[in-house]
Symmetry: C2
Subunit: 259 residues, 2 copies
DNA sequence: CGTGACATTGACTAGTATCAACCAAAGTGG
DNA sequence: CCACTTTGGTTGATACTAGTCAATGTCACG
């Protein structure tokens, strides 16, 4: 089960200019994630330390084991985070979208220079803001709201991570896929008030390989699990990257809604 | 594969008196974990909000889904954190020892009242300090060093969690056990300067069932994996709760030292 | 010494991986 | 514009790891 890691070319980054040029206030991610913790004025201060970057599909912009020089804040698109074993086996530890903050996890004490303990790669085109760690870390003391927000973010990620451990350690293939579809729909804010009955279309930016490496199975198993859900009338599959949840509550029951 | 959750009796907690009575400065965990972030004076302030508690083996003191009223700081012993599915399948998400802080992970915004998203149970006798969330949360603003420390703790836990995802999603049974033994030895600070060759004895406070539910396999698989490591001459097993690492580097190679 | 909890070992089974063929959609080039 | 190729996805046959079920072993404790 050796998965070759798809790689973009060398790290040729397209710098779209300093963030202060295009204003944060116009940013699509202005009112989600990290930036929402700051006033427009404080944000402006921070923006002076940021670079706007556009990445092509497949671009690896964080590589496990390399010195951790930057933080990133995603403004558009989706990235996959992953860890790999020497023989090529890969585990995707999460997908990050607009508003997500990235780069907290490095080896050694959090405030000291360290090395990334994961890799990050663009799925489709990605736009993001890049901050130097050296520039941003001192600002944490200056903006307590920012530090608090980071704690909230880290805490939330921990909760997700533990759900994922339950999934990887104890759920069957079909349960994993069902859980994922619901979690993804939830993340896209498609359940404004708890899981509703009634059909619901979910767009999946990632391919089957990503899904497989996120859920700890093979692409064939993903395909078969989706087929089984389709046969059971729980989902429809208009396209490979589009899933219609036909019976979200039944799906949730199948996914093993936690005790 | 239904694992009955071992349960202690009802929540009868033995209160050993307010923490301010016995001093924090005498605490076995004074210079590890959270408390190390504070001066003795600040710690004294905090101690006034704490209760010292002793728990018997098997005592469940945090239950998933119940209102999150407290934080805990472990002073002695080991606890298991876990999530469970309705049919009883259980995933242990971590083991916490002296110095570890507990209770950050609750549903909803981190600073608002929520519900625990995991359960916690004593393995053997446990002594800990209990703080009310209502009492401690405001103090975070008062002691920035404490908040920073919490961020460090959360970040470190995230790194561990991602390693565990790689383990659960992509490693074989033997690799899981080998990885665990090394990680546990490391955590017990038995590798002061990287993984050394030469034998090394590791004490395991948890039983096979805990190991199985942590590593996402069954107790039989744990037993066979340990047997295989023994047959290969990589470990010795003087007692069930004592493992001697005979060749740590070979073990690390087998565990899939990450790329 | 008997009892019970925990651990190990063995025989068999089930779920998922592997290997391989096939299919559909999207480019590509004549 | 249409055959050819490429890429990603699905489906089928078989293999293998780990799960299940059951017996046996070991240790602590009364």
């Amino acid at each position: 089960m050796v998965h070759l890691q798809p790689r973009g070319g060398p790290m040729l980054i397209n710098l779209a200019g300093r963030a202060s040029a295009d204003k944060c206030t116009d940013c699509g991610a202005r009112h989600i994630g990290l930036c929402d913790a700051l006033s427009d004025d404080d944000l402006q201060l921070l923006a002076n330390a940021a670079q706007r970057i556009t990445l092509p599909p497949g671009q690896v912009f964080v590589e496990e084991g390399t010195p951790a020089l930057h933080f990133y804040n995603i403004n558009f698109g989706t990235v996959r985070l992953f860890k790999a074993l020497p023989d090529g086996r890969r585990q995707i530890t999460g997908f990050m979208g607009a508003g997500h903050f990235l780069g907290l996890k490095v080896s050694g004490p959090a405030a000291a220079p360290g090395h990334y303990v994961f890799s990050a790669e663009a799925i489709g085109e990605v736009r993001l803001c890049r901050f130097t760690r050296a520039g941003l870390l001192p600002k944490l003391t200056e903006f307590p709201a920012l530090e608090r927000k980071l704690l909230d973010v880290a805490t939330h990620e921990l909760i997700i991570a533990q759900d994922q451990m339950l999934l990887l350690g104890r759920k069957t293939a079909v349960e994993r896929v069902a859980s994922f579809l619901l979690a993804w729909a939830d993340r896209m804010a498609l359940f404004p008030a708890g899981i509703q009955e009634g059909k619901l279309t979910v767009e999946l930016p990632m391919n089957r390989m990503d899904l497989a490496d996120y859920l700890g199975v093979t692409i064939e198993t993903i395909s078969r699990a989706l087929g089984q859900l389709k046969k059971s009338g729980l989902v429809a599959l208009p396209h490979a990257h589009e899933v219609v949840l036909l019976a979200p509550r039944k799906l949730a029951a199948l996914a093993g809604a936690e005790s």
